[in-house]
């Protein structure tokens, strides 16, 4: 009540308001809510128009992810944001829901891969250090276009190869994974040109299939005849030329790797198409030497111990390896009520190419049959005397019993011949042969004659007489010896005693302090004194010869 006023009488003095005509119009103030509505409407429209697809991804763990904060980026451009993180119903996974921008709709397909970028330290390097500060984010690889989907399985590891990386994928089959892992390098002439991007077991579990990616432009070096081999670790060779150590790189020593190349003798062939399958050889030598891709299996039955025959044992023919043993099993033959050993061998017919033994299947069968007729048989043989390892050899045994070529399923069964007691028995055979070759009959006959003669001599009377005389002679000799003992021996003792006494005396005499010695010395001194006097006399006489006449006279 701001404008209340007192009840007054002089209100007539209050001046009258002036008057202007009133214009009716809509108040301008309504512009304000109108603008508000427009802005609000625009915001709603913008939000709706920018609303992109909502996708779900499953991860093993939501480490580093946060609903409402974690971004989805591609090439560092923000494409969306994680809106919810929930556990899957069976608690095995984390379901991440994300809202993407509208633009993302165009490339989402079943080939799109999502993964979380975190700081990672691995054998092949350190990545995602930036996320230490900025926090983890989800990134994606659009992949090739395909069927649309909004549900994805997130990768636990970032893929090594993304769709925008030029190069080619190839498939390698190997018997085991070895030390290879995702990210293991692939070398060409010791330059890293690619890496292993995936590996998995073949559907039937028979081998391991590696997927490698060769970066452009190196994929041009992969030809149809290219061979891949493991470059894991060190390759140390000791031969007549000394010790050689070979390795692809230090990294491959640590984490293994794959190398490829073309055997020099071979024509490289055309460039390999993407996804071409190759065999991954165990090492370079194997890759370069073994050019046998075809393998045929055959079966051998042995009726003896195969102790020492291991899987992989070589199958040789005249010292040349033709294949290897791939299976050894004991089989009970119900018909014969007998145990047999079934050996499956794998042969590489390509090894015969150069000898001209090539032909189609029918020819080959006939060929084998003709070989069998000529005694072509398999046999167990000791390959190594030290370890007792056995190998299987094929050879011609013309004496072998004839055997037909039979098939067990698709596999031919080659007849075998028993092992002649191994190496020792062969030696023994040799000895026997030598013995056999000796002129035993002649020797025996001569020996018999000699014995006969000897017998005749022994039985002759002269011999008996001689023996009798001999015994008499012996008797006499005995007596003589007895005489010697009783008579001669004491004499000898006496003589010896005398000799010993003489020697003792002689020793006494010869001693330096013996009286004889002293006397001798004195005598000798006397003699020398006499000699001196005589010399003086002679000198005197020479000078005074007259003294002989006149005597010595007076000294002048």
């Amino acid at each position: 009540m701001s404008e209340s006023k007192k009840d007054g009488s002089d209100l007539n003095d209050v001046p009258e308001a002036e008057v202007r005509s009133r214009k009716r119009r809509i108040s301008i103030v309504w512009l304000v809510p109108l603008v508000a509505v427009l802005i609000g409407g625009w915001l709603v429209f913008k939000a709706l128009s920018e609303k992109g697809p909502v996708i779900t991804m499953t991860f093993k763990s939501a480490e580093g992810l946060e609903a409402g904060k974690t971004k989805i980026r591609y090439k560092d451009v923000e494409l969306g944001q994680v809106s919810a993180i929930e556990l899957s119903e069976d608690l095995s996974e984390v379901v991440v829901t994300a809202e993407l921008v509208k633009q993302a709709e165009n490339f989402l397909s079943v080939h799109t891969r999502f993964w979380v970028v975190r700081a990672r330290v691995g054998v092949s390097g350190v990545s995602g250090l930036g996320t230490l500060f900025s926090g983890a984010y989800i990134t994606l690889d659009p992949g090739v276009p395909g069927n649309k989907t909004h549900h994805f399985t997130g990768l636990e590891q970032p893929p090594l190869v993304t769709a925008d990386l030029p190069g080619r994928h190839f498939v390698l089959t190997a018997d085991s994974r070895g030390s290879l892992d995702i990210g293991s390098p692939v070398f060409y002439r010791k330059i890293q040109v690619g890496q292993v991007v995936a590996y998995h077991l073949a559907d039937d579990g028979s081998n391991v299939i590696f997927k490698v990616f060769i970066n452009a432009p190196y994929h041009e070096y992969v030809h149809n005849n290219t061979r891949f081999w493991r470059a894991s670790g060190l390759d140390v060779k000791v031969d007549a030329r000394g010790v050689r150590v070979d390795t692809e790189s230090l990294v491959s020593i640590l984490i293994g790797g794959i190398a490829f190349g073309i055997p020099q003798v071979q024509d490289p062939g055309p460039n390999a198409e993407p996804e071409t399958a190759f065999v991954l050889f165990r090492n370079m030598d194997e890759a370069k030497e073994r050019i046998y891709q075809i393998k045929t299996k055959s079966i051998l039955y042995f009726n003896e111990s195969v102790r020492g025959l291991t899987l992989g044992a070589p199958v040789e023919f005249w010292g040349i390896q033709m294949g290897q043993v791939i299976d050894v099993k004991l089989v009970f033959d119900n018909q014969k009520k007998m145990f047999r050993i079934r050996v499956v061998i794998e042969m590489e017919p390509e090894r015969f190419y150069e000898a001209g033994f090539i032909g189609d299947d029918i020819d080959r069968k006939k060929l084998v049959e003709s070989l069998l007729k000529r005694g072509f048989r398999a046999q167990l043989k000791t390959g190594n005397l030290l370890t007792g390892q056995q190998i299987i050899i094929f050879d011609f045994f013309p004496d072998a019993e004839p055997a037909p070529l039979v098939f067990e399923g698709d596999y031919p069964v080659y007849p075998t011949v028993p092992t002649p007691m191994e190496e020792i028995s062969t030696k023994f055979m040799q000895i026997l042969q030598k013995i056999d070759s000796l002129p035993m009959e002649q020797i025996g006959k001569d020996l018999r004659d000699t014995l006969h003669g000897a017998k005749q001599i022994a039985e002759s009377p002269e011999i008996l007489n001689a023996i009798r005389n001999l015994s008499a002679t012996l008797e006499e000799t005995r007596l003589m010896v007895s005489d010697l003992r009783t008579k001669v021996t004491p004499e000898i003792n006496t003589v010896l005693d005398g000799a010993r006494q003489s020697l003792a005396n002689a020793e006494q005499i010869l001693n330096a302090d013996s009286p004889l010695q002293v006397k001798m010395n004195t005598a000798l001194e006397e003699i020398s004194g006499a000699a001196r006097a005589l010399r003086l006399l002679m000198d005197y006489l020479e000078r005074h010869p007259e003294s002989l006449l006149r005597g010595k006279g007076q000294e002048e």
Partner: protein, 210 residues
């Protein structure tokens, strides 16, 4: 509240808004001018309810984006985090700082909303010429006017932070669209409160008396 209340209005007087000169009312369908200062004379604030309604509605519309859109983006060491008012409140609740959360909630969410609701309520009652607890309603209006300006605290905090926290890659804060809408809500609400003429609350009484 006296029953035979004499007001300027029912006595045919009108007060100038500018120089507060009391004038006698002239003819009804005319624009009156203050003879002393030349300002336009109005019995009540012109189109008070319409204007207030328009502004309240606009404020209501802006209130939605103000709360849905982020008000600031804090970039710290490369981590960009956008926050709406409510997410800030929830953050403080989560970290156990209840008093701060309460202050922000009251100043930024509760007060603007309650102001708009009060104004709406007053407008409805005025239009229905309700005589229900007029004094209390007037008190509500006074509270609205007094409290209204404090909602601007939020905007001031944002502007100061944006200006101060410019540490490059270490930390920086940007104001986002939400701040603008929030500012619009507060300002429009202030205008709405200003354009509302509390005398209208009491006009019913007078018309009853007449």
């Amino acid at each position: 509240m006296s029953h035979d209340l004499k007001t300027a209005r029912n006595q045919g007087f009108i007060s100038c808004h500018t120089c507060h000169l009391l004038c006698r009312k002239a003819g009804t369908d005319a624009i009156m001018i203050c003879p002393r200062c030349g300002s336009r004379l109005h019995q009540r604030k012109p189109n008070s309810t319409k204007r207030t309604w328009a502004l309240v509605l606009a404020a209501f519309i802006f209130y939605i984006p103000a709360n849905v859109l982020p008000i600031t983006t804090v970039t710290s060491l490369g981590i960009a985090q956008s926050d709406t008012i409510m997410s800030g409140v929830l953050y403080f609740i989560k970290t156990g700082m209840w008093p701060i959360a309460l202050v922000i909630f009251v100043a930024s969410i509760f007060v603007p909303l309650i102001k708009l609701l009060i104004l709406g309520f007053l407008l409805i009652t005025v239009q229905r010429k309700s005589s229900w607890r007029q004094k209390d309603r007037t008190r509500l209006y006074r509270i609205t006017e007094v409290v209204g300006r404090w909602s601007m605290v939020d905007i001031f905090v944002v502007t100061i932070l944006v200006a101060l926290v410019k540490l490059g890659a270490l930390a920086s804060i940007q104001a986002q669209a939400g701040a603008i809408f929030f500012c619009a809500v507060v300002v429009i609400t202030l205008f709405a409160a200003m354009s509302f003429d509390p005398r209208l609350i009491w006009d019913t009484k007078e018309s009853l008396n007449e």
